[in-house]
């Protein structure tokens, strides 16, 4: 029956038809994002704060670590792996392996039934009160497993009504499920869209399974892109926020993603997340085996900047986490919550404690915003074209509070006279067993943040300090436990003053490497 429905929808011209401008403009405005340029960026987005967004939108995204850059320092998410089946094959995905030390989408350690998933969510929510978001992201495609996905949402909505529900899909089945998504009060949907040109799609997707048939090549990619865009339009029309994920594959879709960006923005997408391809031979993916490389840090940032200039909000804090990840972005506590451990746990879901904790987080968050605002005044009137990147070691809370040697990732901020802007993160953790010895550890870190002028840390030893300086990166520990943006702006002000006084000469930095390895739980 479903097959008939799909065909009927396609025949009715619902797929890939051009939507009149005024309708899309209206729905986009409803979602807080103007589709036309105008002055400044549309009033929504990953880095947008409370005052930049319509109240209803702000309310939806403010505690969502994947939709709000600001929120990701304070709020945690979890994924439950209830959806193992998939309906398409991607050249960057291999469903066969699960190395326990691996971290990439499509990989999980154990699959869960909806009942097990609901119990896990309660256990995690009781242990980690800042966990506000539950996502179903696979390891296959959630909408290729609709019964399991919706059953899970139903159970969680009953027992933990304060948790936001979201879903991440390849979009092939999305048009069939949009109505059900809105029934379950799911107001965040992520669609992975890597192309709108089927010729390019054929290089990314070897096949899709649609209407009881396996399609390959350009024909498969054509169906996929039509269904994705149709699904996005349907979400927009229903006021459901949508984020678009795109995998940047140099030489295949890198420049094309600018067109993708335009197409999804036009159809009302709220946020665009361009992620670097993860590709290594040991993953056993097609791209891994053919030696397809991922982008460098500079290539990724240049593309993100280019899309942002087109008035689209870019997400730059995505950690490309596993379909069973638990915790703040950048950490994975899933090993604490295996089915076995959960069975042994006494779980009491205390909504009041969660609320109290979240109120405290909210206070801390306001303090970060206030500190940033105050520091910005010191930059008022400063004139300079200098832009520079800094790397920050943080454990969360928006503070410089991690030791250099303990950092598993650095957050990257771009400093200019307009302030400190979060532009990404770099992982520096160990890959699998003993990926590198003590000797190279520092070199690995330097390669990862080589495009930065300084690294902000809570503490750093004498040896690495010297090596960083030799590499041209200023090790800064004077802002230990202070707010990141406030410190960064103060540092930048000081830097500009020194340049003006002729004490230092500003030089551009080189490129940096994006680590292909895995994020492992400590």
């Amino acid at each position: 029956m479903q097959a008939v429905h799909n065909e009927a929808a396609a025949a009715a011209g619902g797929v890939g038809t051009v939507v009149p401008d005024e309708i899309m403009q209206k729905v986009a405005e409803h979602k807080g994002c103007g589709t036309s340029g105008g002055s400044g960026k549309a009033s929504c987005g990953s880095s947008a704060g409370e005052n930049d967004l319509p109240a209803e939108i702000w309310d939806k995204v403010k505690n969502h670590p994947c939709y709000s850059e600001e929120a990701h320092h304070h709020y945690a998410r979890m994924h439950v792996a209830v959806a193992p089946a998939c309906n398409i094959q991607c050249n960057y995905c291999n469903r066969k392996y699960d190395c326990a030390n691996e971290s990439r989408p499509g990989v999980v350690s154990e699959k869960l039934t909806p009942e097990q998933a609901a119990k896990k969510v309660l256990a995690v929510a009781s242990t980690i009160p800042q966990m506000t978001v539950l996502g179903i992201a696979g390891p296959g495609d959630p909408l290729a497993n609709p019964e399991k996905t919706f059953k899970t949402f139903e159970l969680i909505a009953k027992t933990a009504p304060d948790i936001k529900l979201c879903v991440s899909t390849n979009g092939l089945s999305l048009p069939d499920h949009v109505d059900r998504l809105s029934q379950y009060n799911i107001d965040h949907v992520t669609i992975t869209i890597n192309m709108i040109d089927p010729e390019i799609g054929a290089k990314i997707y070897p096949w899709i399974y649609y209407n009881k048939k396996r399609y390959t090549g350009v024909e498969a990619a054509k169906i996929l892109t039509d269904r994705q865009l149709q699904g996005l339009e349907m979400l927009t029309a229903r006021g459901i926020l949508s984020k678009i994920n795109s995998v940047m594959i140099p030489g295949i879709n890198d420049q094309h993603l600018v067109e993708v960006n335009r197409a999804v923005k036009f159809r009302g997408a709220f946020l665009h997340n361009i992620m670097p391809l993860i590709s290594a031979p040991e993953h056993g993916t097609v791209f891994g085996l053919t030696g397809q490389r991922g982008p460098t840090a500079q290539e990724l940032k240049a593309l993100q900047d280019q899309c942002e200039e087109g008035q689209m909000n870019m997400m730059r804090h995505c950690r490309q986490c596993r379909a069973d990840a638990v915790g703040l972005l950048g950490e994975d506590r899933s090993a604490e919550f295996t089915t076995e451990k959960i069975e042994a746990m006494e779980v009491t879901y205390d909504l009041e404690t969660r609320k109290a904790y979240q109120a405290a987080v909210e206070q801390e968050r306001q303090a970060v915003v206030a500190a940033k605002k105050e520091e910005m005044q010191s930059l008022a009137g400063a004139q300079s074209d200098i832009k520079m990147l800094i790397a920050v070691a943080t454990k969360g809370g928006g503070k410089v509070n991690e030791h250099f040697g303990h950092a598993t990732e650095f957050q990257i901020y771009e400093l200019s006279t307009t302030g400190a802007k979060f532009v990404g993160h770099r992982r520096v953790d160990l890959y699998c067993q003993g990926g590198y010895g003590e000797e190279d550890a520092l070199q690995t870190v330097i390669r990862a943040i080589n495009d930065c002028h300084a690294v902000f840390v809570a503490k750093i030893g004498g040896c690495p300090k010297g090596d960083l300086k030799a590499a041209g990166i200023d090790p800064v520990d004077q802002y230990a436990n202070e707010f990141i943006e406030q410190s960064a702006i103060a540092y930048f002000k000081d830097y500009l003053d020194k340049v003006t006084a002729g004490e230092i000469e500003h030089v551009e930095r080189g490129d940096a490497q994006i680590r292909q390895g895995a994020l492992i739980a400590a």
């Binding site: 193992p84 089946a85 998939c86 309906n87 094959q89 469903r95 066969k96 699959k111 390891p139 296959g140 290729a144 497993n145 399974y209 009881k212 048939k213 396996r214």
Partner: protein, 74 residues
């Protein structure tokens, strides 16, 4: 007269189970999937291609079981 699932290749993703028009596929105790040969019709009369083969993410995992003669529609 049947397809079988190569155990070493099966990832237990369950994509095949709901697609089978004969309800011939079920989950084993260890989370993988098997085809009951007596129920399998190779999708003849239902679809142009065997559904388990079409949906399986791993090549050469749903294959013809040579222990049985090919299925012939009645």
């Amino acid at each position: 007269m049947a397809y079988k699932i190569v155990e070493e290749n099966c990832t237990g993703c369950c994509a095949c189970e709901p697609e089978c028009p004969n309800q011939a596929i079920s989950e084993t105790k260890n989370g993988l999937f098997i085809i009951e040969p007596a129920k399998c019709t190779e999708c003849l009369g239902h679809y142009d291609e065997p559904q388990c083969v079409a949906v399986c993410p791993i090549d050469l995992t749903c294959i013809i079981d040579d222990d049985y003669p090919r299925y012939e529609a009645a």
